[in-house]
Symmetry: C2
Amino acid sequence: MKKLYFITSNRGKFIEAKQKIEPLGIKLFQKNLGYPEIQVDTLEEVVQYGIQYLEKIFPHSFIIEDAGLFINKLNGFPGVYSSYVYHTIGCQGILKLLDKTGMGRRTAVFRSVYGYKEPGKKSMLFKGEIYGKISISEKGKNGFGYDPIFIPDKATKTFAQMTLDEKNTWSHRGKALEKLVGFLSKKID
Amino acid sequence: MKKLYFITSNRGKFIEAKQKIEPLGIKLFQKNLGYPEIQVDTLEEVVQYGIQYLEKIFPHSFIIEDAGLFINKLNGFPGVYSSYVYHTIGCQGILKLLDKTGMGRRTAVFRSVYGYKEPGKKSMLFKGEIYGKISISEKGKNGFGYDPIFIPDKATKTFAQMTLDEKNTWSHRGKALEKLVGFLSKKID
């Protein structure tokens, strides 16, 4: 059986990926190894830079993932800095910034990028995104981060009001993961 | 005469430094060379990481500088991401986040860190900071960035309401630069 490492400190992300990847006959391990995230505009650059750093110190096949919420009216804020912004001003800060903004102007997109690297091979990126709106107030207790304020287009509730399975059918990370799984399954055939 | 490079794309910062450094008999050149800024909590880490990157590709004596505004009530936001935050939500975004917060709870600190690197020598960091408050509204037309909303303690106007000379006597960057100049002047003796 092949081995693959998911370099992440987030156990939830790891379990989500493990459920989709192990049925392919690939054993997925979690590896908690820090890597620098740079200040750039796109998740692709963050992930590409992470891979370039990690491939020098970790000579095995691995995946990494980064995600962000991009709000149109705020010029893409909090974007690739979503985690930092969440830990300083939180969902309440985002709601305050959108105060008095009607639903029609609260459009946003959640993006996720998975990076895959195999020693001696070119790295591969897999992107998923889901368009939606920022709710007027926080709703729901599930999930994490901005889940209580994000309502996907065509849905009537926030990510935090959905079960994990329900969220994963819509989610940016679910979609990116699906593409990664498709790629890995072809490699194995 | 010795040569020193200031690696920055900001002409204003360069001119400010040139005025203080050239009287020491050191010729300062501006070098517009990009370097990755990482997502960390302190300016020191950003500058240290920048030096480590640059020393590999630029084998001359150089300085770099990074600055940020840290607002207590916002858990240090926008901090090392000040530039990104300014270009997305701006001064108005900061004022919105502090909406209904009385002057007593609008405390903030502006920090600047200069890094100095000479080939074959250990790098040196020089830090300056100025405590103050975030004003209720934007005031003044001078300066740049958050200058219209920052009032230093013991001052009665914002940085943007001051002349450049006046601002530099108070400013975080002025103080960090003073320390760097002190260090450089001892090296020359």
